[in-house]
Every structure is written in C-alpha cells, then in structure tokens.
C-alpha cells in the first residue's frame, strides 16, 4: 500500500484510528475525568469530517473489492455530517452520571458502525458488502442496549440483533445464490453475467428482502417501532437517519448497477412495496403518542418514498434519492434533535407533553415545526424540493398513479406532523414544559440541522453536483 491508497481509504482508516485513539485516551483517564473524552472526540471527528471533503480520485483497491469515486466519497461525507450532528446532540445525554462509565464505548461502537457503512458503500463485491453490513449492524445492537439497566433498551438491543441476524441470513442466502448462478461475487462480473434466469430472480428477491429489513420496508418493518422506542434517543436517531441513509445509498448503487438488467422484474415488486410502505407506515404513525414511535413510523413511510426514485431508474432517480436522503438526514435530525433535547432535560417524550411548548420554548418549537414541514414536503424548506424531485423521477418513468398515491400519502403524513405542530402551537396547557436552555453542543447541533433544512432547497448547486456525479455512475 502506498500513500495514495491510504488517501483513497481515508474515511475508513481515519475512523479506525479515531476509535483506537478514543479507547487509548479512555484507558489513561481517571474515572473522574472521563467526560474529557467528549470534547476531544468531537474535535477529532470534526477534523475527520473536514478531511473527508478533500478531492477524491476514482480508484480500485484489493483487486476490485474496494472501490471509490467522487459520488461514493460524497455519500460518506453526507453520513459524516449526519453523525457529527448526532454526536453534538448526544453530548448532554452522555454527560449524565449514569453514562459516565461508558462514554468511550458509545463513541467506539458508533464509529465501528460508521466504518462498516463506509466499507459497504465502497464495496466492489458482495463479500466486502457483507462484511461492511455486519460491521454496521452488530455494534448498533449494542448501542440500542446501551442503557441496559432499562428493560426496554435491553429488549431493543436483542430485538435488533435477532432481526438483523435473520435478515443477514436471508441476504447471505441471496448472495450465495448469486454466486452459484454467476460464478462470481464481483459487482461488475455479476452485472455482465445476469440473464434473469429464475434462480437469479430468486437470488435477487432474497437479497432485496435482506436489504428491506435494513431500511424497514413493509412488510419487513415490524422490528422498527419497538427498537426505536426502546433505544436511547440518540441511538434511535442514528438508526433512523444514518443507518437507513447508508442502506438506501448502497441499495440504489446495487440496484442501478448490479441488478440493472432485472429492472423489468423488480419494478413490479418495488411498486407494490413502495405503496405498502408509505401507506402502512403512515396509518400506524397516525395513532402514535410517543414521539419516538411516532418518528419511527414516519421514517418507515419516508423509506417508501425512496423507492420511487429507484423506480425512476435513471440518473434523475439516482440523484433524487441521494438528494432526498441528504435532505431527510437534516430534517429528521432536526426533529430528533428537539425530541432529544427535551427528553434529556425533562425526561418527557409523549406528544401530550408538547402541549403549549411554543409559549415556553419558542425556538425549539419553531425548529421542530420547520423539521416536520420539511419531512412533510412543504415549501420553502428543503423537504419540498427533495420530494418534488423524487416524484419527478418516478413520473419520468411514467408512474403517474404511483406519484399520485405518494403525494396523497404525503398529505396523510402532513396530518400527523400537524398534530405535533398543533400540540406545540395551539393546544392549551396549564403546565407546559418549563423553559430550559440547552448547552452549546446541543444548540450547535440544532442550528446545523436547521441551516440544512433551510439552505439545501434553495441552493440548487448541491443538486447539480450530485447529479453530475450520479451521471458518472450510470453512464
């Protein structure tokens, strides 16, 4: 390995180094001073994020197992920014007495999963893909059970572990069928060898089912709500934003390259699953009173929208999905950030507790409203643009009825997002949550996501960059 290779793999290598550094610092710190890890890690991760933006060359390592190009680097950067915001939002929570012992574990586990996702995105064959996937999944289960003295959290960890083990098994079976029918695990070779024989279709279905578990598409979504509710709020936001975003990224790459020829077959499946996911996610979200469960079901519904872009099946579709995920990360982190800030300070996470919030915490309420509008796709915030482009890509392939169903679903989702807005702005409450001032880190995290929600839509440059990079992948 020479220096340029190291530069190529800088995301993964630096994260590994970062995880090690955190462990070493933890070893040498006295128990009293454990909290010092937090600022150090934050600064280091910020540097990592910045370095990630250095220009990237298109290159291939390990004989095709690992590959990288500007688009993949951009995906990793998007995830990095998301993780940075989550880290900022979890500072207050980590500083709590009960978490002092295991601050470093939080960071190390989080970084491990991020390394896994980076490898997964950069994978050039199914083996690397599977390695990355496992590395991305198993530490998350540990994270979900982070507050293991809490029964719900422990339950969430076990549930996540079991269901991901099952889905990994299914996925691995799919991969083995792919290998069996094509004789290769390299994406490029598989792509050339695919002839849509029944076995290959079968292989794809198994593979897709495994992925559907990860993105929690209906009917593979049942683990989501319980895990989201049980896990600590920052882990929930990591699961719903970063994990899902990374899985969507890799899914779209694989669908558009490896299984490209299968499009006539999988379009029917995607159509159906997309409608089911949007509708069922929305219908379940209608009745939720717990904010975490509420956001869990809303994020299931959002995953249904992502499929619209894949159905588009062209550069427009790929660009729109990546752009949508980018916008989704900021919007959802805005919403989770507010829930997290309130939960950490007051311990409340029910929608009824938000009654009259605007009177006491106007800024939090405004950010929450913007984030929810962005999730619902209301202008002028970024979510509108994300949804519009996604729908445009589906329409470009002629799926007008699907677009109609999707926009109707967006209207249904607006109903329950407005319920929260109604709670905060309209409902009267004798004893609203008292005013509190979040600390600097939380505020920075919230402001970052707020800025993202506002700027991303108007700043068309971002969309154009993604588009030009996607163009390179498909053509």
């Amino acid at each position: 390995m020479n220096f340029s290779d190291i530069l190529t793999m800088r995301h993964e290598l630096m994260l590994t180094l970062l995880a090690l550094v955190v462990l070493i610092i933890d070893l040498n710190l006295h128990n009293r001073n454990k909290h010092l890890i937090i600022p150090v890690t934050l600064v280091l991760f910020f540097l990592h994020t910045v370095v990630g933006f250095l220009p990237a060359e298109k290159s291939i390592l390990f004989g095709g197992m690992y590959r990288t190009n500007s688009l993949l680097v951009m995906m990793k950067n998007i995830l990095n920014i998301g993780v940075l915001i989550i880290l900022l939002q979890s500072v207050t929570w980590l500083k709590k007495e009960e978490n002092r012992e295991k601050i470093s574990e939080y960071f190390v586990l989080l970084f491990s999963t991020l390394i896994g996702m980076d490898f997964m995105i950069s994978s050039g064959d199914f083996l690397m893909f599977y390695l990355g996937l496992e590395l991305a999944t198993i530490p998350v289960a540990a994270l979900a059970a982070y507050t293991h003295h809490n029964t719900k959290s422990a339950e969430a960890g076990i549930k996540l572990l079991l269901s991901s083990a099952l889905s990994s098994g299914i996925l691995l079976f799919g991969i083995s069928l792919i290998y069996g029918s094509t004789g290769s695990i390299y994406y490029d070779t598989v792509m050339d060898m695919y002839q849509n024989s029944p076995m290959q279709v079968m292989a794809f279905i198994f593979f897709f089912t495994g992925m559907a578990f990860k993105i929690s598409l209906v009917p593979f979504h049942l683990w989501t709500a319980d895990v989201y509710e049980g896990a600590p709020i920052n882990v929930t936001s990591y699961l719903s934003v970063i994990s899902k975003g990374a899985a969507a990224f890799i899914l779209i790459i694989v669908m558009f390259t490896v299984f490209n020829k299968l499009a006539p077959v999988y379009n029917h499946i995607l159509y159906l699953i997309s409608v089911l996911t949007m509708t069922i996610g929305n219908l379940f979200a209608l009745r939720q009173k717990n904010m975490k469960r509420f956001l869990a079901f809303s994020s299931i519904a959002q995953a249904g929208f992502i499929l619209l872009g894949i159905l588009g099946g062209n550069v427009l579709g790929m660009t729109s999905v990546i752009y949508f995920v980018l916008v989704y990360i900021f919007s959802n982190l805005g919403a989770f950030g507010v829930v997290s800030a309130i939960q950490t300070v007051t311990g409340k996470e029910s929608m009824d507790d938000y009654d009259g919030l605007y009177a006491t915490n106007p800024k939090l309420s405004l950010l929450m409203m913007l984030a929810l509008f962005s999730l619902a796709g209301i202008p002028p915030v970024a979510g509108f643009f994300g949804k519009f482009f996604l729908f445009a890509s589906a329409a470009s392939a002629g799926y007008y009825w699907l677009v109609f169903i999707a926009v109707l679903n967006a209207t249904v989702s607006l109903y329950y997002y407005l319920l929260v807005v109604k709670a905060m702005f309209i409902n009267k409450n004798e004893t609203p949550l008292a005013y509190f001032k979040s600390d600097l880190a939380t505020r920075t995290g919230l402001i970052l996501s707020g800025l993202g929600i506002f700027i991303l839509g108007f700043w068309s440059q971002i969309y154009e960059v993604i588009n030009s990079l996607s163009f390179g992948i498909i053509h």
Binding site: L316, T319, F373, I378, P379, P380, F384, F388, F389, F391, A392, A395, S396, Y400, V403, F404, V407, L408, A410, T411, L414, Y415, L418, V421, K422, F425, I426, S460, Y463, E464, N467
Partner: protein
Amino acid sequence: MSILNLFIIIPILTVVGIVLTKDLKQSRLVSAIGMGVQMLLSFVLVYLYLRERATGNTAAMLFTYDALWFPTLNIHYSLGVDGISVAMIALTGIVVFAGIFASWKVTYLPREFFISLIILASGVFGFFISVDLFTMFLFYELAVIPMYLLIGIWGSGPKEYSAMKLTLMLMAGSAMLMVGILGIYFFSSPDHSHLTFNLLEISKIRIPIEMQRFLFPFTFVGFGILGALFPFHTWSPDGHASAPTAVSMLHAGVLMKLGGYGAFRVAIFLMPEAAHEQAWIFLILTSISVVYGAFSAAVQNDLKYINAYSSVSHCGLVLFAVLMMNQTAMNGAIVQMISHGLMTALFFALIGMIYGRTHTRIIQEMGGLMKVIPFLGVVYVIAGLASLGLPGFSGFVAEMIIFTGAFQHVDVFHRVITIVAASSIVITAVYILRVVGLLLMGPIKNDHFLHLDDAKWYERISTITLVLAITAIGVAPFWLTNMINFSLAPIVEKLSAIQITSLF
C-alpha cells in the same frame, strides 16, 4: 432586475422587520407600512403595464425576469405578468392592505399573526407573477400552509377541526396538481429533449391528446378544489367561518382566486383539447356549485357561513365562466374574480367588525344595527348590493359579461346550463336581502347593542379602500376589461382553433 422581484422582496423585508419588533403596535405598523408599499407597488405596476402596452409592446409577458435555478430539470425562477396577472396582483395588494387594518386589534401573539399573514400574502403574489410551473406550485403551497396556523391559533369556533380539514383538502388538491404538473413537464417537448416548466413555451407545443385526457382532470380538479369546485368545496365554509377576519378576507378574497386563475392559466391554456372534451363534466359540477352554494347561503344563520357559501357560489361562477372558453365569458371570469375578491373581503371585514361589537354572528340575535352603527350598516348594504349584482358596482359587470358570454354558445346544453347558473342571481338576491333585513333593519333585539361604537379610523381605512375599488370597477369597467382583453385574445384564439367534438 425586474420590478416583479420587489413583490417577493418586500414581504421578506416586512417579515424580517416584524421579527425585530416587540409588541402589537410596532408589528402592525411595520406590516401596514410593508403592505402599503406593496399595494402602491401594485398600482405602479398597473400604470407601468398600461404605459408599456400603450407604447406598442405586444409581448405576451412583460417585465420578465429569468434565472436558471435547477439546470438539470430546467427549472427557472421565472417571472412575468400579463394583463390578467396584473389585475390579480392589484386585487391582492388591496385586499392584503385592507386585511392588515382589519386585524388592527389582534392581541394574542401579534408578531406571529402578522408574519403568517404576510407569508400567506407573499405566496399569493409569487403565484401570480410566476411563469414557471415549478415556482408557481412552490408559491401555491407556500400560500396554503400558513392557513393552518392562522386558523388554528387565532380562529374561533371549531377552529382545529376546520384548520385541519382545510389544510388537508387543499394539500390533496396539490397532490393532484403535482401529478398534473409533472405530466405536463414530461410532455413539454415533442421529442423529450428540451423539457421545460415554462408556461409560455409549453403553450406553443401540443401535448399528446391521450396525455391531456389523463392530466387535465388532475390539474383542473387540483386547482378546482381551491376554487371550491363541487363536491370538493366542503373545506371552504368551515375554514372561512373559523378563520380570523383578515384570514377570511385574504382567503376568500384572494386565495380562492388562485384556483380559478390556475385552472385557466395552466389546465385550460396548456391542455385545450382535453378541456374542450371534458368541459361538460365540469360545467355541470360548477353550475351545481353556483346554485347549491347560493341555496345553502340562503338557509344559514351564521353571518360567516352565509358569506362562505356565497363565496362557493361566486367562485363556482368563475370556474363556470372559464369553462365556457370564449372571449366574453373568460373576460367575465377574470372580472368576477376581481369583483368577488373585493366584495367578499369587504363582507368578511364587516362581519369581523360587527362580531367584534356584538359578540355574535347569528343573524336572528341581531337587528336594527343600522341605527347604532350606521357607517358599518351602510357599507354592509353597499357590499350586499354589489354582491347581488346591482349596476354601478363590480358584481353587475362581472355577472353580465359572464352570462352574455355563456349564452353565445348556441347548443342546447350550454344554453340550459347557463340558465340554471343564472338562476343563482335570484337566490343571491334572496339571501343578501334576508341578511340585510334581519341584521340592519327592524327593532334592536338586545339592549346591549344600544351602546355600540361605530367604525374606528383603522376600520374605515379598511372598508373605504375596498368600497372605492368596487365602485371604480363598477363605474369604469372598460379600464379593467381592456387590460384583460389584450392578454386574453391570444389564449382564446388558441382555444377556438381547436376542432374537437365533445359529447355536448
């Protein structure tokens, strides 16, 4: 830089200004100044437009401004106005200005109120100056969403229910619209090479007839929901009744016109063949709107419901006239939009002022108000007479032109449906005179009403502005119709060039 950009910039500056204010006094002053400037600007625009036309500029859109926004999808931030949009902008300017003065006494969260109101207004202004379907749609949704907060927070009665119903129904409308717009976009170029959202460019090509048949109902109903098309009008009475005064004014006065304007500018203009084919379905629906709305208004006892149903009836007439698709009727449609916008805004302003004094909106509980609040009483009668189409006011001009135009069709179907719709004139007279009689004449039923104050100065500003505008159009309609006609001519020409045999 085109003058049109100012219509976006001024509201933004006003909102920033309100954010910096501290209390009701400051925020209403900033809003009044901002929207006053906006109104003057819209008058300046009318003047500039007429001058430009007088010098012989025959371009379809004037004062155009174009900036490429999303190059991949060829989305432009593209502005431009013709006679029709200039008229609508002037209407919006007047109604918003009057609305600010009608909400002079909003004490609960005043800053938030005015900010939401101005965001709503900027959405409407943006909609009327957009030439690009994408920005048009963006502004359309921008105008809808503040309604939820405005009704939900500052409304009265079952406000949460009404706010949610209104928002969801309008958003379902925009769902249909989204399909329509995307469909138009992907067929905006015969060989799919230069797709565009630009209205004028799309109007030059012919969208395949099969696609038109599919997309026209989506687009028309999408806008029609906002224009209170039967059976999708149910959000309107509840929404208007629960909304605070200024919001009812803006909503019935201007926002519902987005529906009529869009149905005409986007649905019919871009898909004329399908419009000809399917017009009969929507003509039946709109004439139901017209008659049913008028009948419903006649049996209501709540002032706001009466006016809300009367809006359904009048806005139905706009869509009815647009669907007649000839020069005269469409001209009438635009005049009706302006006229109804002013009239209904005046009505809602007056209802708000009366309610603020009597604390009831049930007409049976009131009576003889003319004796105690003569100013408001007289203005109410003026609004009523304008609404039932008395010559000298704008309502007469509009209805006259519409029914003349509609009767120009020689076939039986159009004749019959015109007669049916025209029957609403009589019913309108019934409910207007009923209200005027019960509300203003007769004995005073409640001693408490003997001590009511007449209109304050800010209320007079609000009402007089509107009355002046109504009378101006009633006395000198040629001013307005000339402006509209010039821009309408090419559109009608395009429509009449089509030879499609419809069912009727």
